[in-house]
C-alpha cells in the first residue's frame, strides 16, 4: 500500500544507478539513520548498549568484511579472527608507541596493517581454493594466535600477556559512556558500510563476483584472478582489522590473544551464513542474530518463569546455531537477507497480491 514505486520514473542513468532507487527505501533508510542517531541513545539502557548494540555494530563490521571475501569473492576463510587480532594489536601498539596519535588514524593504520597480513595469507588462494584454502586460513589463525601470545614486543612487555587500553578520547571528546561509544561506532560502521556498498557495485566488486561464480570464465573476460583475489583478501582483512581494533579498544578495553581465537572465526562465518552470503544487509542480520541469541536464550526462559541452568542454555545456544546453519544452507542459502527481500516483494503487492 505504502511501498509502491509506480510513478517514480528514472530519467537518467544516474538515477537508475542510485544506491536506493526507490523513494520509500530512501525515506526508510534516512529515518532509520535518524532514529539510530537521535532516538536510540535516549531509548536504550546502558546495558542494551554494552551487551548487545555495541558488540553487534562491531561484529557486523567484521561480518561485512568476511562477507566481502566469502560472499562476494567466493574464497573461504576460517581464520578471520586472526586478522581481527592483527588489527587490535596493531592499534594497541600504535597508540602505545606513537605519542598523541588520534585513534581514527590508528584505526585506519591498523586496518592497513591487517590488510597487508591478509594479503600475505591470501597468497595461497592463488594456487588453491575451496577446502584447501580453509586449511590455509586455519594456519593463519593458529600462527597469529601464537605470535601475539609469544612475542613480548606486541604486548608491550606486559608480563601477563594481557593488554589494557586507557579511555579513548577523540578531539577532546572522551568515549567514556556507552552511548558515546555507540555513536562513535555507528559513525564508523555507517561510513564503512557505505564504502562497501559502493565497492561491491563497482569495478572491483564485479570482478570479485565474476571470480566467485566461475573463475575460468572471469579470466577469459579479462579479469586478473591475482588482482581480484588479493584485493578481496586485502579489503576484507582491512574491514576485519578495523573491527578488531574497535572490539579491543571500544568493547573489551582489555584483552588477551584468546579473545580472538578460532571460535570467533567460526562465529563470523556463522553470521554470514545465517545472515546471507553476498549481502551487505545480511552481515548485519547475521551479526545481530549471533550476538543476541545467547542473551535471549538466557532471558526468555527466566521471563517465562522456567529458567534454564546456565549450562543448558549454553549447550542449547550451540545446538541452535548448528541446526540453524544446516537449516539455512538447505532452505535458504541466501540467509535472512533473502527473506528480507522476499518480504519487500510481498509488501510491494500488499494488500492486493493479484
Amino acid at each position: 500500500m505504502f511501498y509502491r514505486e509506480n510513478g517514480q520514473f528514472k530519467s537518467s542513468y544516474r538515477q537508475d544507478e542510485a544506491l536506493l532507487p526507490i523513494l520509500q527505501d530512501r525515506i526508510f533508510m534516512l529515518a532509520l539513520l535518524a532514529f539510530a542517531v537521535v532516538g536510540v541513545p535516549f531509548l536504550a539502557s546502558d546495558y542494551l548498549f554494552l551487551s548487545i548494540i555495541n558488540p553487534f555494530l562491531i561484529m557486523a563490521l567484521a561480518a561485512l568484511g568476511l562477507n566481502l571475501l566469502v560472499g562476494y569473492c567466493g574464497q573461504i576463510s576460517i581464520g578471520h579472527a586472526a586478522f581481527m587480532s592483527v588489527g587490535a594489536y596493531a592499534a594497541y601498539n600504535l597508540m602505545l608507541r606513537v605519542p598523541n596519535l588520534n585513534f581514527l588514524v590508528a584505526l585506519v593504520l591498523a586496518g592497513l596493517i591487517a590488510a597487508a597480513v591478509g594479503i600475505l595469507f591470501g597468497m595461497p588462494s592463488l594456487r588453491i581454493k575451496g577446502l584447501y584454502l580453509a586449511v590455509a586460513t586455519l594456519a593463519a589463525q593458529f600462527f597469529i594466535d601464537w605470535l601475539f601470545a609469544r612475542v613480548k614486543w606486541f604486548t608491550g612487555y606486559e608480563s601477563s600477556g594481557s593488554v589494557s587500553t586507557p579511555v579513548l578520547s577523540l578531539f577532546g571528546w572522551p568515549l567514556d559512556s556507552p552511548a558515546r561509544k555507540y555513536l562513535f561506532l555507528l559513525a564508523v560502521v555507517a561510513v564503512f558500510t557505505l564504502l562497501a556498498k559502493n565497492l561491491v557495485r563497482g569495478h572491483i566488486g564485479r570482478a570479485w563476483m565474476a571470480i566467485r561464480d566461475m573463475d575460468v570464465a572471469a579470466e577469459v573476460i579479462g579479469i586478473r584472478p591475482v588482482y581480484a583475489k588479493l584485493t578481496a583478501f586485502a579489503v576484507s582483512s582491512f574491514y576485519v582489522g578495523v573491527a578488531g581494533a574497535l572490539w579491543g579498544f571500544v568493547y573489551l578495553g582489555s584483552w588477551e590473544p584468546l579473545a580472538f581465537n578460532i571460535t570467533v572465526s567460526l562465529n563470523l562465518l556463522f553470521m554470514i551464513i545465517i545472515g546471507g552470503m553476498g549481502s551487505i544487509l545480511g552481515s548485519f542480520f547475521g551479526a545481530l542474530f549471533i550476538v543476541a541469541l545467547p542473551i535471549v536464550l538466557d532471558r526468555v526462559p527466566a521471563w517465562l518463569g522456567a529458567p534454564l541452568s546456565t549450562a543448558t542454555a549454553s549447550h542449547l545456544a550451540s545446538m541452535i546455531f548448528g541446526a540453524l546453519i544446516v537449516f539455512f544452507l538447505i532452505v535458504e542459502p541466501h540467509g535472512l537477507a533473502r527473506l528480507w527481500a522476499i518480504g519487500k516483494e510481498k509488501l510491494r503487492l500488499w494488500p492486493f497480491p493479484h
Binding site: L131, L138, F143, W146, K152, G161, S318, G322, I325, L329
Partner: protein, 333 residues
C-alpha cells in the same frame, strides 16, 4: 620430474630437520628416540581422526569438519554408558548410536544438500559439529569422564643397555598403535574383500558411473558415515583413555585437517602416514626448534607445535596440493 622437485626438496628438508638434532649432537640418541616415540604416539591419535575424514571425503566428497565432534560424542556416549554397564556393551551401543547418527545426518543434512559445492557442505558439517557439541554435552554432561581400557599407565624402560638412561615408552601408547593398526587392517579388508567395500570404492571413483550400474548412493553414504562413526568410537575410546573424555577432544581433533592435507584427501595410508609425520614433526619442532626460537627471538615460551602442523600443511599445499598419496583431482586455479 620437474613437478616433483619442490616436493622432494620439502621432504628432504623435513627429514633433515628431523635428523638434525641427532646429527649435530644436540640430543642424546636415547632422548631423541623418546621424542620420536612421543611424536608417533601423538601421530597415531591424529591418524585415527584423520581416517574418519578420509573415509567420508572419499565416498561423499564432504570435508567433514564434524569428525572431531563425532569423536567427542562417541567417547562421551561410551564413557557415560560404561558407568552402568560393561565397557564392551557400552562400546557396542556406542557403535549403534553412531550408526543412528549417520542415518540422521544422511537424511537431514546430506540428502537435501546433494550436488552442492564442497564449501557449502563444509559449512553444513560445521553446523553439525556445533549441534553435536551442544547435544552431546546436554545429554551426557560436561564433566571429565573416564574410559578405563584397563591399560597400565606406568611407563616401561626399554633398550636400557643400548642407550644411556634407556628409552621410556608407555604401554597405552603401544596399545593405541596396535588398535590403529587393527582398525586400518579391518578397513582395508572391508574395502578390498566385501561387496559393500567394493561399492564404496566405486562410488569414490565416480559417483555417476556407480549410480548408473545400480549402486544406491544414499545407502552408501549411510554406510560410509557409519564406518566413520565406528572409527570415531575407536578414536574416542583411545583418546578418552589417554586424556579423559572432555569437551576439548573436539578441538584438538582439528589437527586432523593438516594431516589429511599432508596425506592426501583420498588416501587411507596417507591419513596414517600424514598423522605420523605431523605427530613426529611437531614434537621434534617443539622440543628441538622451540627452545632455539625462544632464545633467538626472546619469546615468552615455545608452543610452536600449535601451528607447526598447519604451516607445514600450508607449505605442502603450495607445492603439492594433492598431498603425498592423494589423487590429482584438486581444482587448480
Amino acid at each position: 620430474m620437474k613437478r616433483h622437485l619442490p616436493v622432494m626438496i620439502l621432504c628432504t628438508a623435513l627429514v633433515a630437520g628431523l635428523a638434525a638434532p641427532l646429527a649435530t649432537g644436540a640430543s642424546a640418541p636415547g632422548f631423541y628416540m623418546e621424542v620420536l616415540f612421543g611424536g608417533l604416539a601423538a601421530g597415531v591419535l591424529y591418524s585415527l581422526v584423520a581416517l574418519g575424514f578420509v573415509l567420508i571425503f572419499k565416498a561423499s566428497g564432504v570435508f567433514n569438519f564434524a569428525q572431531g565432534s563425532m569423536v567427542l560424542f562417541a567417547a562421551l556416549s561410551v564413557a557415560r554408558m560404561a558407568e552402568v554397564m560393561p565397557l564392551w556393551l557400552a562400546a557396542m551401543l556406542g557403535v549403534g548410536v553412531m550408526v543412528l547418527l549417520a542415518i540422521l545426518i544422511e537424511r537431514l543434512v546430506l540428502r537435501p544438500l546433494v550436488n552442492q559445492e564442497g564449501v557449502v557442505l563444509l559449512m553444513a558439517t560445521l553446523g553439525v559439529s556445533y549441534f553435536l557439541d551442544g547435544f552431546g554435552q546436554s545429554v551426557w554432561g560436561s564433566d571429565i569422564y573416564e574410559i578405563n581400557l584397563g591399560l597400565p599407565k606406568a611407563p616401561v624402560m626399554i633398550l636400557g643397555n643400548l642407550f644411556k638412561g634407556g628409552i621410556l615408552i608407555n604401554k597405552d601408547d603401544v596399545a593405541a598403535a596396535v588398535v590403529a593398526l587393527l582398525l586400518v587392517t579391518a578397513l582395508a579388508l572391508f574395502f578390498q574383500k566385501t561387496a559393500t567395500g567394493r561399492a564404496l570404492r566405486a562410488v569414490a571413483d565416480d559417483h555417476q558411473a556407480a549410480q548408473s550400474i545400480g549402486i544406491p548412493l544414499n545407502r552408501i553414504w549411510v554406510i560410509v558415515w557409519s564406518v566413520a562413526g565406528i572409527v570415531a568410537v575407536v578414536a574416542g575410546m583411545v583418546w578418552g583413555s589417554k586424556l579423559g573424555v572432555q569437551f576439548s577432544i573436539s578441538q584438538v581433533a582439528l589437527k586432523a585437517l593438516p594431516v589429511v592435507i599432508l596425506g592426501g584427501f583420498t588416501s587411507i595410508p596417507g591419513a596414517i602416514l600424514g598423522g605420523l609425520i605431523i605427530g613426529v614433526g611437531e614434537k621434534m619442532a617443539e622440543i628441538f626448534l622451540g627452545p632455539l626460537m625462544v632464545r633467538t627471538f626472546d619469546l615468552a615460551g615455545g608452543g610452536i607445535e600449535n601451528w607447526f602442523a598447519y604451516v607445514l600443511a600450508l607449505l605442502f599445499l603450495l607445492v603439492r596440493p594433492e598431498g603425498l598419496f592423494g589423487e590429482r583431482i584438486i581444482d587448480r586455479v
